[in-house]
């Protein structure tokens, strides 16, 4: 059987991951390190932006240009999602990161009854994924890739047509190193056809082995071993939000979307999981991550949703969220429940599971964990966090701090005598809680030790009590 490969090239993958409203504004993806535009949408293109352009030039050409820094993780995530989706249609998939997928077609055609039916199925699937792509078939992987990257955009098994098209391709779009392509250009060789005319032995005498290997593989004279993709065991998806969300209630909606993707993922593998890890990417804050644990393995979106709802109520967002990702913990095959209805389970709950159960029973407000912050402002130096959050330790504890800190300072009404101080704290001018206070350790007439402070208006407050 004649070998046939299909290559899908996704030129604007990161742009495609952005919410659809982004296409109303001229937008580019910029590789900050090399200062080059790597992706640009049609609005930007119309105004003269080209791939490879630097930031200065592009922004000079388009006054309201949106610039997104290139993030390979986003593309990686999306490619995996696409591959996972295509896996249901075709078995031999090879990921050509960052933005391409290679499919081995010839052994699938029998199932579909021909190339056009096969291609139609793939197209439908891609339509649902809503990504821009270029495509081509080819006799070898490299041939298909080159044709796809140069916008051949045809699916055919006519070997002659494919060969002719391939020969006309410029060498710049191949996988050859930049230096090699330059060197070839400088002896007038610019297209595949020109290079193919020269015997491999002459090439070998002048260039390194990579060129020989590449040409050999592309033209089918050398064998090309391709390793195939195995779908992930774990679910890991990320979505960029349409607009920044700073209200946890509103977060439910995009999360529902992820959960249904999860359900689908688990269902086709016939798996369950007990733990979900959810990360909320926030502006100017560290990413907020929390776990959702179920008492037993779940796959249904509905079940996770209720747990999620409860969990979200315990979370305070310090900054708006612009992206969410969802991962599973360990997954396992679903086995029918064979447990004895009357046998009691031995206490084998993990800490996380225990907390989930407590929350479910006591209500979420009552289950929290304590965190330490590296901040001079007493009210911010410790905080209640979600029950699952990890407490990070601070190197040195502060001195002269009371055992009990009032959650809001109270106006001082008692008579006290000052014992030590002042400790002046002038901190936090950069955010919404600047503080300028003089703290003192004082003793009441009844012998209690108070932590009091005087504010800028010379008013006295009680902020804590020493044990």
């Amino acid at each position: 059987m004649k070998k046939l490969w299909l290559y899908l090239h996704f030129p604007n993958l990161q742009l495609d991951c952005l919410p659809s409203e982004q296409s109303q504004v001229p937008t580019i993806v910029l590789d900050g390190k090399r200062n080059q535009t790597t992706q640009c949408n049609s609005l930007a293109y119309e105004q003269g932006v080209q791939l490879g352009m630097g930031l200065g030039t592009a922004s000079a050409l388009v006054s309201n240009l949106q610039v997104i820094p290139y993030n390979p993780d986003i593309e990686n995530n999306k490619i995996n999602e696409i591959a996972d989706s295509l896996y249901q249609l075709t078995s031999d998939i090879n990921l050509q990161t960052p933005n391409g997928i290679l499919l081995r077609c010839h052994n699938m055609l029998a199932f579909y009854g021909g190339l056009s039916a096969y291609w139609q199925a793939i197209q439908e699937n891609l339509k649902q994924l809503d990504v821009q792509y270029q495509f081509a078939t080819g006799a070898t992987p490299f041939a298909a890739k080159l044709l796809a990257k140069t916008q051949f955009n045809h699916v055919t098994d006519d070997a002659k047509q494919l060969k002719n098209a391939l020969l006309q391709r410029p060498l710049e779009q191949t996988e050859l190193a930049f230096k090699t392509v330059e060197k070839l250009k400088r002896v007038g060789i610019r297209k595949v056809a020109e290079l193919a005319k020269i015997p491999l032995s002459d090439i070998a005498k002048r260039f390194d082995i990579d060129l020989v290997t590449y040409m050999g593989r592309m033209l089918g004279e050398l064998h090309h071993n391709v390793r195939f993709y195995h779908p992930e065991k774990k679910f890991n998806r990320r979505i960029e939000l349409l607009y920044e969300i700073d209200n946890t209630e509103v977060l439910i909606h995009p999360l529902k979307h992820l959960l249904s993707g999860l359900e689908h993922f688990l269902k086709i593998r016939d798996q369950l999981t007990e733990k979900l890890i959810i990360s909320l990417q926030q502006r100017e804050q560290a990413t907020l991550t929390f776990d959702l644990e179920a008492a037993q393995g779940e796959y249904q979106a509905q079940q996770w949703q209720s747990l999620l709802r409860l969990k979200l109520e315990t979370i305070t967002l310090l900054a708006p969220v612009y992206a969410i990702s969802l991962q599973t913990g360990a997954t396992f095959i679903r086995t029918p429940d064979k447990q004895d209805l009357f046998a009691a389970k031995q206490g084998a709950l993990s800490e996380a599971q225990f907390i989930s159960q407590l929350q479910a029973k006591l209500g979420n407000d009552n289950v929290r964990s304590l965190l330490l912050n590296n901040d001079f402002r007493p009210e911010l130096s410790s905080a209640y966090g979600s029950a699952h959050a990890q407490a990070h330790s601070v190197a040195v504890l502060q001195k002269d701090r009371p055992a009990l800190l009032l959650s809001t300072p109270e106006v001082l009404t008692e008579q006290v005598t000052i014992n030590s101080g002042p400790e002046r704290i002038s901190f936090g001018w950069w955010d919404a809680h600047p503080v300028l206070r003089d703290y003192f350790i004082a003793r009441t007439q009844t012998g209690r030790w108070y932590w009091v402070y005087r504010d800028q208006q010379q008013r006295w407050f009680l902020h804590g009590v020493f044990s």
């Binding site: 922004s59 400088r186 007038g188 020269i198 260039f207 002046r424 901190f427 001018w429």
Partner: protein, 1027 residues
């Protein structure tokens, strides 16, 4: 109650101190302190600024010099200088610590501290019992009677325990305690900036630093009544006790010159006189007219030198230039003192006094009390030899470079502060790039919210304040371009010496302003590309025409009208200082015809005079269309040489003195305010004094205001006449050489590249337009350097192998030395001489093997063959059986540009025209026949874009076609409307209106711009972009 602050760091403790030294001392004065010590970490870089502020404002607070040192984590001390010996000691300690370590850091050794005999020491205990006990013992042993414990009160948690600990140590070791502030800022309001500096230092955002930041603003200079409440009386008394012991002042530093400059048995004035007389006999061998007055001037000058005791300065320079002379290195001195007859006789300059007799401020001004200002330019390729000579003669100990303080400018300030405030770098970059292109009229602050850099006004306000505060803050010390300090004894007794970034170079901690303030002398050894070029041209003229020339030889011939004719035609590509676009457009209008005209030409075509609106009045008066009027004879004296329009810096100074009654010192301050990088805010301080002074002497208010406006226009661009005079010499000499020996001229310039305004490609174009043949690079006839060769009865330029990109001097040597008598016959031979593969390729691409095979693709192909490199295959020729490609004319052209950055074949525009790839256009040469104000279409390669900041958003674009250059003017509106073509085009078509100004200068005012770059996508001809 009185107080002295003994522990205080300025912003010269980089990224720690948040106030300038001047601010600290001014605030200390304001608060009524007895004294303040500037004690930066292992540095005295900031003390001179505090000293200058002190002197200028006549402050009464005492300034004490000292430094903070941290040794491992266990010991911190502040060393203070009571006497000059202590100061020398401190400098020695700092030098040792810094020399031991790489640039920017220091490493103290116990030995440094042990051998400190004179400094006063304040110990800052760590708070750890064991460590403090150990060090307490050590310190007590070495510093018995000059040791204190420093106690600080910053209102921190648990401070009482710290103070108790100090008391315990004090009793244990019987040491007095002194109160100190550990000051990091001059006022509490600087706390946010101090926080930002810490964030920058740690590379994080301010909101994430946490408790490593200061918790309050107590580390500032505090009012005395507050300090009184914080410390016990005895501890405050100790501050006064220490301050009283410190009597050292920076002006005690006396500069000692190296003694070896004067031979034994003679005194400096005698020796100088002897040298001058000797020089006089050579320079004035044929006694010229006015010889007697020359002699009288010499006597006067020597008298002044003796009075001010500057003999050594001149002797140092004399010694250096004698070395250069012996080594045949061209040099030229410039500066007001350089234009004296003494300097002419000492051969420091080559400016014939008769030519400069019209020069204005010719020597040291006694009244200004300023050290003589002389810079010496040397050939740029050989300056290093002169520097090595200095190091060798005086030794590393006694000579070092002056420092330059690299400080925060707007862009770096915004970037660093923005990052610390949490703004993403991509956003900051975007903002900075966008405000660059905008109208400079709009304040950047107004654009912050507009461009999305900040979303609320408080944040925006904070950002603006912080950026404004940090601008001008020092970031690090760097080495000055060429300013050397040479002293008699080890330099580190005067000022600490650190390692520079360059290997084997050392730098003192003070910059040139500091040196001037303390009246220490430096010698400027600078590099000038044109001197290299001139020497090479002289060598060529000697080799090919048998004539020996020198700069004085040429200047002695006085003004050659043919040369001036060429200059007036603006045929000045390659001419020193008069070759830029702006210059070339002014030459036909100003029409210089004498040496002094050139002096004016060089100074007047600069942003300063243009901005101050001096050019037009000058031209009008020169033509006679406007009368020259002077409100008084004093002003006539000053301004008549320039037709009543102030053009030179010296004129402004003299005006201030003569017309407004400024004293020498005040005039000097005015000069500094003009010359420094400060905003015109500084100059405004002088406005009322100048205007009232002038009105007092009977001048009208309007006249006084006009003069002031012109001074403001000068800003930092006003050029000194003395420098212009030296440059004019070189401008004339280079033009003279261009006129009489053009082939040698171009060859000399190209061999000295990089230098000057034009690239070799443009120089070659100019040579060809002067009907000089240019022969291509050839493996059989070229050397590494460009040279001259006989061709069709004349000398032609033979391009050298250096023009091939990627071809080195070693490669050239190999090629030339192994070249057979009849030349190379086969490419295979070239493979056997030991050149690297990429060098062979470079030669092939440059078509240097044309004689062997004129298909350079094929040549490259055969060179790539690795087999014939092996000895066995030596005789196998032409292995190109399967290769059949030939470059087209365009590909040949592209290869030319890629490999050599120029082409000797058809110009790209000509090729494009012949291939009909672009619509028809008017060529540069044809423009001369077009009428003024007609519509015209021109097309060419964009070889230059200049957007001088002063002209109101206008850009000058230079287009090049096969017949010459075209000057295009693009107004801001046109640029904005056609951004793409304006910014990106490499081949540009312009349709616009032709304007012909006075003197025949032609411009095209752009209307429609069309980008045709796509027709030559690979063209590598680069365009110089100035913005």
């Amino acid at each position: 109650m009185a107080y002295a602050e003994l522990f205080c760091q300025s912003n010269f403790s980089f990224l720690t101190g948040a106030s300038h030294p001047q601010e600290l001392i001014a605030q200390a004065e304001f608060l009524g302190y007895e004294a303040v010590a500037i004690t930066d970490e292992c540095s005295v870089a900031g003390v001179v600024r505090a000293y200058t502020e002190h002197k200028q404002r006549g402050l009464s607070v005492k300034l004490i010099v000292g430094s903070l040192f941290n040794y491992t984590d266990e010991l911190s001390v502040v060393l203070l200088c009571p006497t000059k010996e202590a100061y020398s000691e401190l400098c020695r300690i700092i030098t040792n610590a810094r020399r031991r370590s790489e640039k920017g850091s220091y490493q103290l050794a116990e030995w440094d501290l042990k051998t400190c005999q004179h400094c006063l020491v304040i110990w800052l205990p760590k708070g750890d019992q064991k460590i403090d006990n150990q060090w307490g013992r050590w310190l007590k042993r070495h510093y018995e009677n000059r040791l204190w414990i420093g106690a600080r009160r910053h209102l921190l948690a648990n401070e009482q325990a710290q103070l108790d600990h100090c008391s315990t140590l004090s009793q244990q070791f019987q040491l007095p305690i002194v109160a100190c502030g550990a000051v990091l800022m001059h006022e509490a309001e600087r706390l946010p900036l101090q926080h930002v500096l810490t964030a920058i230092k740690l590379g994080t955002k301010v909101s994430e630093v946490g408790r490593q930041l200061l918790s309050n603003s107590e580390r500032s200079l505090r009012p005395i009544n507050k300090i009184q409440k914080l410390f016990p009386q005895e501890w405050l008394q100790e501050t006064l006790l220490i301050a009283k012991q410190c009597a050292f002042r920076l002006d005690e530093l006396k500069y000692q010159y190296p003694a070896e400059l004067v031979p034994a048995g003679k005194s400096p004035p005698d020796y100088l006189r002897e040298l001058v007389l000797k020089g006089m006999r050579i320079r004035f061998a044929e006694k010229p007219a006015g010889y007697f007055s020359i002699k009288r001037t010499i006597v006067r000058e020597l008298q002044l030198i003796k009075e001010l005791r500057y003999e050594y300065f001149f002797l140092t320079l004399y010694d250096i230039v004698q070395f250069a002379k012996q080594q045949n290195i061209l040099y030229q001195g410039r500066g007001s003192a350089a234009n004296s007859i003494v300097c002419y006789c000492l051969e420091i300059t080559a400016v014939d006094p008769r030519q400069i007799s019209v020069l204005f401020e010719r020597f040291i001004s006694k009244e200004r009390n300023e050290p003589p200002d002389i810079d010496v330019d040397f050939e740029h390729e050989r300056r290093e030899e002169v520097i090595q000579y200095i190091y060798q003669k005086y030794g590393r100990e006694r000579t070092a470079l002056a420092a330059t303080v690299v400080s925060y400018r707007f862009k770096s300030a915004l970037r660093e502060v923005g990052k610390a405030m949490g703004i993403s770098e991509v956003q900051l970059d975007y903002f900075i790039k966008n405000i660059n292109r905008r109208d400079r009229g709009l304040d950047w602050q107004a654009q912050i919210i507009e461009l999305g850099l900040a979303t609320d006004t408080t944040f925006a306000q904070q950002l603006v304040t912080l950026v404004d505060e940090i601008k001008g803050f020092p970031r690090h010390l760097s080495q000055h371009v060429g300013g050397f300090v040479i002293s008699a004894g080890p330099l580190h007794q005067l000022v600490p010496v650190e390692n520079a970034a360059m290997n084997e170079r050392t730098v003192i901690q003070w910059d040139k302003d500091d040196l001037e303030a303390l009246e220490l002398l430096k010698v400027d050894i600078l590099a000038l590309g044109m001197l290299t070029a001139i020497r090479k041209i002289f060598d060529l003229v000697k080799a090919f025409y048998g004539r020996t020339l020198s700069i004085p030889d040429i200047t002695r011939m006085q003004d050659d009208q043919q040369v001036y004719g060429m200059i007036q035609r603006a045929d000045t590509v390659g001419g020193f200082q008069i070759e830029s676009r702006a210059q070339m457009s002014m030459l036909p209008r100003l029409k210089p015809a004498t040496y002094y005209d050139l002096v004016i030409q060089i100074a007047i075509v600069r942003p300063g005079p243009i901005q101050g609106d001096m050019v037009h009045p000058f031209l009008k008066r020169r033509d006679g269309s406007e009368p020259e009027t002077y409100p008084s004879p004093e002003i006539r004296d000053v301004l008549s040489r320039t037709k009543g329009v102030p053009i030179f810096q010296e004129q402004v100074i003299k005006l201030a003195m003569v017309a407004a009654g400024f004293t020498g010192g005040e005039a000097d301050q005015l000069r500094r305010a003009m010359a420094s990088w400060k905003k015109n805010g500084e100059l405004l301080k002088f406005k009322s004094k100048l205007i009232s002074g002038m009105m007092h002497r009977g001048y009208s208010y309007e006249y006084a205001e006009r003069i002031f406006k012109q001074i403001c226009g000068f800003g930092e661009y006003g050029f000194p006449e003395s420098h212009s005079a030296s440059f004019a010499i070189l401008a004339y000499v280079s033009s003279w050489l261009k006129f009489y020996y053009p082939t040698a001229f171009y060859v000399g310039l190209m061999n000295s590249w990089p230098m000057g305004f034009y690239s070799p490609a443009q120089l070659v174009q100019d040579a060809m337009r002067h009907n000089i043949n240019v022969l291509p690079v050839c493996v059989n006839t070229s050397d590494y350097d460009h040279t001259m060769q006989q061709n069709e009865g004349h000398y032609a330029i033979r391009l050298g192998l250096r023009q091939g990109k990627g071809f080195s001097q070693e490669g050239a040597n190999k090629l030339v030395s192994q070249r057979p008598i009849d030349g190379y016959q086969h490419t295979a031979q070239l493979k056997q001489i030991g050149l690297r593969q990429n060098e062979l390729q470079a030669l092939a691409s440059a078509n240097a093997m044309q004689v062997l095979n004129d298909n350079r693709y094929q040549t490259r192909w055969s060179l790539m063959e690795q087999e014939t490199e092996l000895p066995l295959f030596k005789d196998v020729h032409e292995p190109t059986a399967h290769y059949h490609t030939e470059p087209t004319e365009v590909e040949d052209l592209l290869e030319d540009y890629h490999a050599t950055s120029l082409t000797l074949n058809k110009h790209p525009m000509q090729l494009l025209q012949e291939a009909q790839l672009i619509p028809s256009f008017t060529s540069a040469r044809q423009l001369n026949n077009i009428r003024h104000k007609s519509i015209v279409t021109v097309t060419g390669l964009v070889t230059g874009r200049q957007a001088p900041g002063t002209a109101s958003g206008v850009t000058f674009i230079t287009l090049e076609d096969h017949t010459g250059n075209i000057n295009v003017i693009v107004w801001l509106a046109t640029a904005r409307a056609q951004k793409r073509a304006y910014l990106k085009a490499q081949v540009l078509q312009v349709t616009g209106i032709l304007e012909r100004g006075d003197g025949g200068v032609t411009h095209v005012i752009a209307g429609k711009l069309n980008d045709f770059s796509h027709v030559l996508t690979d063209l590598k001809a680069k365009s110089r972009n100035f913005h």
